[in-house]
């Protein structure tokens, strides 16, 4: 059994975990554990974008959770563990906290697919103080820092994990000079800010910047407008685009003044999951997903699948569906999950973020997977991506862990 190893146990709760797990050794015994998970979503208003070529699937995220449910149920049948998933989807602007409060007992293991504000209002509900919530959508750094919550883990990436991954690849290729095109609005400003921070971290220089303003129909006139926009850029290796909503970036590529790769929001992108990931058995996950959903698996599906598998793995190993038992186990050194990315994934104990390898991909293939060889780290090379322990301003987790002791 996994729990009988030499790693130090953390307090009494884990001690009992080991005992339960010990009972499961040998012929699996029927344990009769019921695991109820709720996928709670606040739908996003449809994005107004120039091209309709890549519509956002209506069941984005949900299908990932359903696949995770099916995977868990298969394991559960050998253990006497039954898994159930309810999906609750609210229209844009819906009251996530009110809905979460209504769930009561059924709402103690929740996957939250919603924006920053809703994530916090759900996590702060008194009735969910002992619940375990998995953020599968919000990438905001603040949720991993000042606004972290002890009951909120993140299987969605922190935005900085992805921008760090992209900059690692640039540095490995010695493409160290970037020109940045920044779209309008706060989301693009946040993305551009993450690019800048990651560029600084990995020694990539942003030599020129241009603001993208929404003028004209790029489907018709990109070939005229983009060369002019990019003509004034200082000598650069890549054109970095901050276009969070996938609006204009596709029209930049192959229209620049000088021939340069376009990266960030199109071209070369850092994504937590993409259809081109096929190594490490990923092809099997991709084909299982395709059979279930009839479409390719995307990052939010992956985050939801991972969240379900984290729950499943914890229930399998501990024999308990208690949210606090699951939390203690998944934050312990014993926990690791195979997630088809070549290295096990686990959680950062300082802010509840899933640490995972980040594929950096183009439309047809994986270009690299961060952390790349040579980016070492005192603890785990995966922690070279995103908020690391020394810089995290999250205190909820340390406090919670100390309380646990």
């Amino acid at each position: 059994m996994a729990l009988t190893g030499s790693a130090p146990m953390r307090g009494g709760i884990l001690g009992s975990v080991a005992m339960v797990a010990g009972l499961l050794a040998g012929a699996a015994q029927a344990q009769d554990v019921k695991v109820q998970v709720t996928y709670l979503r606040v739908e996003e208003p449809p994005a107004v974008v120039l091209s309709n070529l890549d519509p956002i699937p209506e069941d984005r995220g949900i299908k990932g959770a359903q696949l995770g449910l099916a995977d868990n149920a298969t394991t559960g049948q050998f253990m006497g563990h039954a898994y159930a998933l309810d999906v609750v989807s609210l229209p844009p602007g819906g009251d996530a906290a009110a809905e979460a409060a209504r769930l009561g007992e059924a709402g103690q293991l929740v996957l939250t697919d919603m924006g920053l504000g809703d994530q916090l209002s759900v996590a702060d509900l008194p009735g969910l103080a002992q619940a375990l919530i998995f953020n599968v959508s919000a990438e905001d750094g603040v949720l991993r820092n000042d606004q972290c919550r002890a009951n909120l883990l993140h299987t969605a990436s922190e935005l900085r994990m992805r921008t760090d991954a992209l900059m690692q690849v640039l540095l490995a290729k010695r493409w160290t000079k970037a020109a940045l095109i920044e779209g309008e609005g706060p989301e693009n400003a946040a993305l551009a800010e993450a690019y800048r921070a990651s560029a600084t971290k990995f020694g990539i220089k942003i030599v020129s910047t241009a603001a993208w303003s929404e003028a004209g129909d790029l489907r018709r006139n990109a070939a005229q407008e983009v060369p002019l926009l990019t003509q004034g850029f200082k000598d650069h290796h890549v054109v970095l685009v901050a276009d969070a909503a996938d609006d204009f970036a596709r029209y930049i590529e192959h229209n620049t003044w000088v021939p340069r790769p376009v990266i960030g929001s199109t071209g070369l992108r850092a994504l937590t999951w993409d259809r081109v990931v096929e190594q490490w058995g990923a092809a099997q996950l991709q084909s299982r997903f395709l059979a279930l959903a009839g479409r390719d698996m995307g990052p939010r599906d992956f985050a939801a699948w991972v969240a379900m598998r984290v729950i499943g793995e914890a229930v399998t190993r501990t024999g308990s569906a208690d949210p606090q038992m699951i939390r203690d186990y998944v934050l312990s050194p014993e926990f690791e999950l195979a997630a088809f990315l070549g290295r096990p994934v686990s959680f950062r104990t300082w802010n509840g973020q899933l640490r995972q390898p980040i594929p950096v991909v183009n439309a047809r293939a994986v270009v690299g997977v961060a952390p790349l060889d040579g980016f070492e780290h005192a603890r785990n090379p995966l922690d070279s991506l995103g908020t690391d322990a020394p810089e995290s301003t999250c205190t909820e987790f340390e406090t919670a862990l100390k309380k646990g002791n």
């Binding site: 050794a25 040998g26 298969t74 394991t75 253990m79 195979a338 096990p344």
Partner: protein, 318 residues
């Protein structure tokens, strides 16, 4: 993989006309590379179905079975001619299999379908399908033929299947992503490697209890990259060689004390392995570097690297 007892038996019967060979499946080439043990060169390249992975010979070496994963078939080949005689119905996406000691039944892991399929190789019919965990892969049969093991990669279990009733008798949890299983020491122990967990679990087969867990530690290699996959034991069952995947090393394990005694540098992403018939040499398939490393077993040294096809995966001794 071939079991040692079968191999020893075969040696006595081996046809003198055939030089000993190592057969290697090339996952991304749809071929088999045949290595002559005397010259250590590829002497034949044989086309197969799509994505060949698991490979095994029957006892008298008159047939070779190949999992052609993406063709959804097990192919039956005449090793003399390299001709594919027929396909066996295998269920979807067969990855690994094991042949019953009487050569009659193939037990096949169907990776995409979460089932183990039992095929009668004489009637060429599926005689049973057994529901197992997600992504079944590793297959092993006990020397007495009474127990077959399927390991499931995402469910993280070894399923103990009673071959008479063709139903699961027990399930034991192992670490993350179990890849390969072998009965050793005349069936007294079952070893299961866990690729992402980074361990080999050792079970007492009399009661399915865990005896110990073998762990690996290579200086300068992050533990996450030490990923045990295939392994083989010397005929005396005293020494195990364990492929450690992207760490590019093979571990030498004392199978009596369960201590790791040595790490041998081989090619990149080492998967599986096969001994020469006299067990003086061990051949490892190295997926990423596209070659086979020859290890001198007594000296515990890599002595040669042989270029084969793209992404070599399985290996079997002829």
């Amino acid at each position: 993989m071939l079991r040692v007892s079968t191999l020893a038996l075969c040696l006595g019967l081996a046809s003198p006309a055939v030089a000993s060979e190592i057969w290697v499946t090339n996952e991304k080439d749809d071929t088999i590379s045949v290595i002559d043990i005397d010259t250590l060169e590829v002497v034949r390249t044989i086309p197969t179905g799509e994505r060949p992975r698991g490979i095994t010979f029957n006892s008298d070496r008159s047939r070779v079975y190949i999992c052609a994963s993406d063709s959804n078939a097990v192919q039956v080949m005449d090793p003399e001619t390299g001709e594919i005689l027929h396909d066996l119905p295998s269920g979807a996406d067969p990855e690994q299999f094991v042949l019953s000691p009487d050569d009659r039944y193939l037990w096949i892991a169907n990776e995409d379908d979460a089932v183990t399929t039992v095929v009668d190789v004489e009637t060429r019919k599926v005689v049973a399908q057994i529901n197992v965990g997600i992504e079944p892969e590793g297959m092993a049969v006990s020397p007495d033929g009474k127990t077959v093991i399927t390991t499931s990669e995402t469910t993280n279990m070894a399923h103990w299947i009673d071959t008479e009733t063709r139903s699961i008798r027990a399930n034991t949890l192992v670490d993350a992503r179990p890849r390969h299983a072998e009965f050793i020491k005349d069936g007294a122990e079952l070893w299961v490697s866990a690729e992402i967990g980074g361990t080999i679990s050792v079970f007492d087969t009399s009661n399915q209890s865990e005896i110990t867990k073998i762990r690996f530690d290579i200086q300068g290699v992050h533990p996450d990259l030490i990923q045990p996959v295939g392994f083989e034991l010397t005929p005396d069952q005293k020494t195990a060689f364990v492929a450690l995947g992207p760490s590019n090393h093979v571990a030498v394990v004392n199978a009596e004390t369960y201590e790791v005694e040595d790490y041998l540098l081989v090619g990149r992403r080492v998967w599986h392995m096969a001994f020469s018939p006299d067990h003086s040499q061990l051949f490892t398939t190295n997926g990423v570097s596209g070659d086979v490393t020859v290890i001198d077993v007594a000296a515990r040294k890599a002595v040669k690297s042989i270029k084969v096809g793209r992404f070599p995966w399985g290996a079997a001794t002829r």
